[in-house]
């Protein structure tokens, strides 16, 4: 498994509504995902040459204040190949979301934990594709019971190389 992309809060893009807040936690840039509204952030990259196999997303997070409960995330990929019939001005083409959750957040707020989600729905991503990663906290998921913001430090995308 090889790291192919690392998205940080400073590289995040946002939808027009329901997006996490870019802030600092002890001078560390974080995206604060709300506990009551499902918020989404995007990262854009070009799939590097040699891309192969199963895709995995690893979300590095810490809770702002919660010490109990769980947190759930949905990760979706949009892979656009050259010449695809997609009007990027007006449309998106994200594949079905891949859900994952960490049933138990760290017992101390601020402790970092990593949630790994296998992206079985990877939009047939291939080298040279224009790729967007969508990461959303799924507050409607029954496993998302932790209160307060979930601070995301980074999102890592791996392939099977």
């Amino acid at each position: 498994m090889a790291t192919r992309f690392v998205g940080t809060p400073f590289g995040a893009e946002f939808p027009a509504s329901n997006y996490p807040q870019l802030t600092l936690s002890n001078r560390r840039p974080v995206l604060g995902f709300d506990a009551t509204t499902s918020e989404t952030a995007y990262w854009t990259f070009v799939a590097p040459q040699g891309w192969t196999g199963t895709v995995t997303a690893v979300i590095s997070y810490a809770m702002a204040s919660a010490t109990t409960g769980g947190v759930a995330f949905d990760v979706a990929l949009e892979a656009i190949s050259s010449g695809d019939a997609l009007d990027t001005d007006a449309s998106t083409s994200f594949d079905t979301v891949n859900a994952g959750n960490d049933g138990t957040v760290p017992g101390t707020a601020g402790y970092m934990e990593q949630l790994s989600i296998t992206l079985t729905n990877a939009d047939s991503i291939a080298a040279a594709d224009l790729v967007r990663v969508s990461v959303a906290r799924d507050v409607a998921d029954a496993a998302d019971t932790a209160t307060g913001d979930c601070y995301v430090f980074a999102v890592e995308i791996r392939d099977a190389a």
Binding site: F5, T8, Q21, G50
Partner: protein, 453 residues
């Protein structure tokens, strides 16, 4: 994040920036006050605000109220003001979402004043709303530059950057100034923090263009120069590098198919399945070469360490490892095979050679089999453990002993044939210390010429 102003007297203030300037921020009217509401109050005659409606954009130059677009509460807008200077002849413009909304080529009054405000002005026309991502230059930016600055918190232009408050921090750090200019602001009233607009910081993400696992695994097809990593080259290097492959560390799987230069490893070539198909130069790792080396090797194969399994199929030069050659070497060897160490098991398919053109001279032991046809001498310093060959044109000079038998270890009996008794002598040099024993006379024949004994 954003700074929330929600009461009279709440603002950020500092001494006024005179002359040319550009001020920009994301603005948000939380509650329509239905009154004059100032976003940027940059002196007595330089105010970007709303009219008394509370939502219609306004620029006040000290005498004239210029009006613009009607804003909607609870909506984020990017607001920028740029000015050529304070003089009557200086032009200015107010941009809403990157588009000029109010502008004029001159002023009706010289811009002046002591202080400047964000979220208020010197007439206490306070904002009930939010400001975020404030950037100020002591220069007049163009519309194109303003549009470039809109969608990133991080400035794109650093020249003349006079103040930058990204406002991504909260609490007492909410108005921290990041440009390094020292042009900080004073908080007036009780400010708070609320959500900001959906704007990216503007840093490019990190994409890994090749797979890395302790070092580069695969380099692509044809590098023009040499490959010389300081560390290990863990999987493969190249298909056709023009130069040498000389990692300081180990090359653990394979190096190249056709390097025209040398493969000189300072470290071991640890687990190579195939080092080379064809090497124009020498293959000389300082350490061990564990499995196999090459198919065709024009130069020598001379590892300082052991050559564990097989070396090559066809080798024009010598095969001379300083250490042991454990399993097989070559099918056809034009040059000499000179081992400093022992030859433990076999060379090729149960025998050393199909044909050895030169000398087979082992400092150590030849453990099992050697050759069918050896045109030169076989002179190991140690012992030959099981069998030598079928036909040996040269001398067989052993410093040690022949352990099992000569001709056929599979034969149940010893057959010794002297084909021409007239020219052949079977000599027992020291009859007193030597016994010729035929263990099973019924199955053994000793023939001299035509006579049977």
């Amino acid at each position: 994040m954003a700074i929330r102003f929600n009461a009279s007297g709440e603002s950020l203030s500092r001494s006024r920036l005179a002359g040319a300037k550009t001020v920009m921020a994301w603005i948000y009217i939380s509650t329509d006050r239905n009154d004059y509401t100032a976003f940027f109050g940059m002196g007595s005659n330089e105010i970007v605000a709303t009219t008394a409606t509370g939502t219609t954009l306004l620029f006040y130059d000290g005498t004239i109220e210029y009006t613009g677009t009607n804003l909607t509460a609870a909506t984020w807008y990017h607001l920028a003001y740029s000015s050529q200077g304070d003089a009557l002849t200086d032009d200015w413009a107010v941009y809403l979402n990157g588009v000029s909304d109010i502008s004029a080529g001159a002023r009706s009054a010289i811009s002046a004043g002591t202080n400047m405000y964000l979220g208020n002005d010197e007439y206490s026309e306070w904002l009930n709303g939010r400001l975020a991502h404030v950037k100020i230059w002591n220069a007049q930016l163009t519309q194109a530059e303003i549009q470039q600055e809109m969608y990133t918190i991080r400035p794109q232009r650093y020249a003349n950057l006079w103040c930058w408050m990204p406002m991504i921090e909260t609490g007492s750090s909410r108005d921290n100034e990041w440009s390094g200019s020292g042009n900080t602001w004073t908080e007036n009233g009780t400010l708070s923090d609320e959500d900001g607009p959906p704007i990216s910081w503007g840093m490019k993400p990190w994409v890994v263009p090749f797979v890395a696992s302790g070092g580069p695994t695969t380099y692509y097809s044809t590098p023009a120069g040499s490959i010389a990593p300081a560390g290990a080259a863990s999987k493969r290097t190249s298909k056709t590098p023009a130069g040498s492959v000389t990692p300081a560390g180990a090359a653990s799987k394979r190096t190249s198919k056709y390097p025209s230069g040398s493969v000189g490893l300072a470290g071991a070539l640890a687990a190579a399945r195939t080092v080379l198909a064809s090497v124009g130069g020498a293959l000389a790792p300082a350490g061990a070469l564990v499995r196999s080396t090459a198919k065709g090797l024009a130069g020598s194969l001379a590892p300082a360490g052991a050559l564990v399994r097989s070396a090559r199929k066809t080798m024009a030069g010598s095969l001379a490892p300083a250490g042991a050659l454990v399993r097989s070497t070559a099918k056809t060897l034009a040059g000499a095979l000179g081992l400093a160490g022992s030859l433990a098991t076999q060379l090729i398919g149960g025998v050393i050679e199909q044909a050895v053109g030169g000398t087979l001279a082992l400092a150590g032991t030849l453990a099992r089999a050697t050759s069918i046809t050896v045109s030169g001498a076989i002179t190991p310093a140690g012992s030959i453990a099981r069998q030598i060959g079928k036909t040996l044109a040269g001398a067989l000079g052993l410093a040690g002993s022949v352990v099992t038998n000569w001709i056929s270890p599979s034969a149940a009996k010893l057959d010794v044939t002297l084909s021409d008794a007239a020219q052949t002598t079977l000599t027992i040099a020291n009859a007193a210390q030597t016994t010729l024993t035929i263990a099973n006379a019924a199955q053994t024949t000793l023939t001299i010429g035509d006579a049977t004994v």
